[in-house]
């Protein structure tokens, strides 16, 4: 993660951010459903400079057996960053941060997936971050949800995610790596757009109650933008050459 650049202007007087975006403008997002032949479901996302590949397996037998639950299926998520995904080589063993993000993504997906239909089974989600540039957990969650839908796991709703934050005393949408390092606050939001429910909400930084509310609102609005792209990705794969 690059060192802080003290001279960098995060937000200029015209309301343009360090990478040329407006305050409420997300980075360029591209989502593709499918792509991995051996996985039951998969997706690939490019979220700005983030590049993430997700594979879903299951429902399938649980190994080790003692992890299985007779009442419901279980969800297992592995978030992993490739050694080459960041500037300086990252050691490939799961770090404290990766273990945490795996857990956070798992808990953000659980309200959406209906695993009670598959007792004694497991659904495995493998997230590989090929290139990281801030906001990988949101991008990973977005992609994981597309991959689960691609795998045909019954879901109450898709989960879309994006981060909002505070930079130069302004609430912004989609925090990038520089803004994350030098900004005042970073708030990843995961949201189920049809059910209008938040499944992931974290906050790093300090916000006043008013800013906090605004930050959540901005995040939820951003999630709705992301949701449209998720929808498009699934439509392209399954109904690509059909009329609606």
């Amino acid at each position: 993660m690059g060192g802080r650049d003290a001279t960098m202007v995060l937000l200029d007087e015209n309301g343009i951010r360090c990478d040329g975006r407006k305050v409420d403008e997300p980075r360029k997002i591209m989502i593709k459903a499918g792509g991995l032949k051996n996985a039951d479901g998969s997706s690939y996302i490019e979220f700005g400079d983030n590049k993430i590949l997700v594979g879903v397996f299951g429902p399938r037998d649980v190994h080790p057996k003692h992890m299985s639950n007779t009442d419901t299926g279980i969800l297992r998520v592995r978030y992993h960053m490739e050694p080459f995904s960041v500037g300086e080589r990252k050691r490939p063993a799961p770090s404290r941060r990766e273990i945490e993000i795996s857990k956070v993504i798992k808990e953000a997906l659980e309200p959406a997936v209906m695993l009670e239909k598959f007792p004694r089974t497991a659904v495995d989600v493998f997230i590989e971050v090929l290139q990281a540039d801030g906001g990988t957990r949101c991008a990973a969650l977005t992609a994981a949800s597309v991959a689960l839908a691609d795998a045909g796991i019954p879901m109450r709703d898709m989960v879309a995610a994006i981060a909002s934050g505070k930079v130069a005393d302004t609430i912004i949408l989609d925090v990038n790596n520089e803004e994350d390092q030098a900004g005042q606050a970073d708030m990843p939001v995961g949201y189920m757009p049809s059910l209008k429910k938040i499944t992931l909400l974290q906050l790093d930084g300090v916000l006043t109650p008013e800013e906090y509310k605004k930050c959540v609102d901005v995040g939820v609005k951003g999630c709705e933008l992301v949701y449209e792209l998720q929808k498009q990705a699934l439509h392209d794969k399954y109904f690509g050459n059909r009329k609606d």
Partner: protein, 226 residues
């Protein structure tokens, strides 16, 4: 009701109102929400979504093709292309007077054998119970196994079996379709076999094309005459 069909993804509101939710939909408040990627269909009093992806989930009375994985002294275990293992009790094959020391299970079915079977019982607490004691069921002696996607099985069968009948007539092959996406094709001639196999694989790949029936017909007929 062609205009009532819609392409949906999880979370899409199919409709709202007093409908009975059937497969792949849930009732959330007053709205009926799709839980799978697929095609929604609204009937007079019910709504369902035909899923386009997903693994096979056993349903009672489904005809499936299973592969023997292993056996104990009392039962066989079958791979039925699902997240659960099919359970075929020895009593089903040997009859009521089956005894563990007199009868040897491997004399009837060996590991790797294919069987046409029916799901006799399945609930969420136990693995699916399988039976082969019915007409047309039992060990499959010859034929090739073709694996297709579970969600494309209805397409391969076609409306009232039209698609599969057409393929069978065009190639003189006998085709057994398991609901779990495994298909066994047997044919006396090598040519018919390869043609039938090609047709089945074509349905699997091009299931979404509207005039697939004509496409298959062309493929089968043209080669018949030439």
């Amino acid at each position: 009701m062609a205009d009532r069909r819609k392409y949906v993804i999880p979370g899409d509101i199919v409709t709202s109102g007093p409908f009975r939710p059937e497969q792949n939909v849930i009732l959330e408040g007053n709205n009926i929400i799709a839980t799978a990627v697929g095609i929604s269909e609204i009937y007079e009093d019910s709504v369902k979504v035909i899923s386009l992806t997903g693994k096979y989930l056993p349903k009672i009375n489904d005809l499936v093709i299973g592969k023997v994985v292993s056996h104990t002294s009392l039962s066989w275990e079958l791979d039925i292309n699902s997240c659960y293992i099919g359970f075929l009790p020895a009593m089903d094959v040997f009859g009521r007077d089956f005894s563990t020391h007199a009868d040897e299970l491997s004399s009837k079915l060996k590991t790797g054998d294919l069987v046409a079977a029916r799901i006799a019982n399945f609930d969420r607490t136990r693995d699916p119970l399988i039976t082969i004691s019915d007409r047309d069921l039992g060990k499959i002696d010859d034929g090739v196994l073709v694996k297709i996607s579970t969600s494309k099985v209805p397409r391969l069968i076609g409306k009232k079996g039209s698609m599969i009948q057409m393929i069978e007539m065009g190639t003189n092959a006998a085709i057994t379709i398991g609901q779990n996406g495994w298909v066994v094709i047997s044919c006396e001639t090598e040519e018919g076999l390869s043609k039938a196999k090609k047709a089945v694989e074509m349905v699997n790949e091009k299931a979404h094309i509207a005039n697939l029936t004509d496409l298959i017909k062309d493929m089968l007929d043209v080669k018949d005459e030439s």
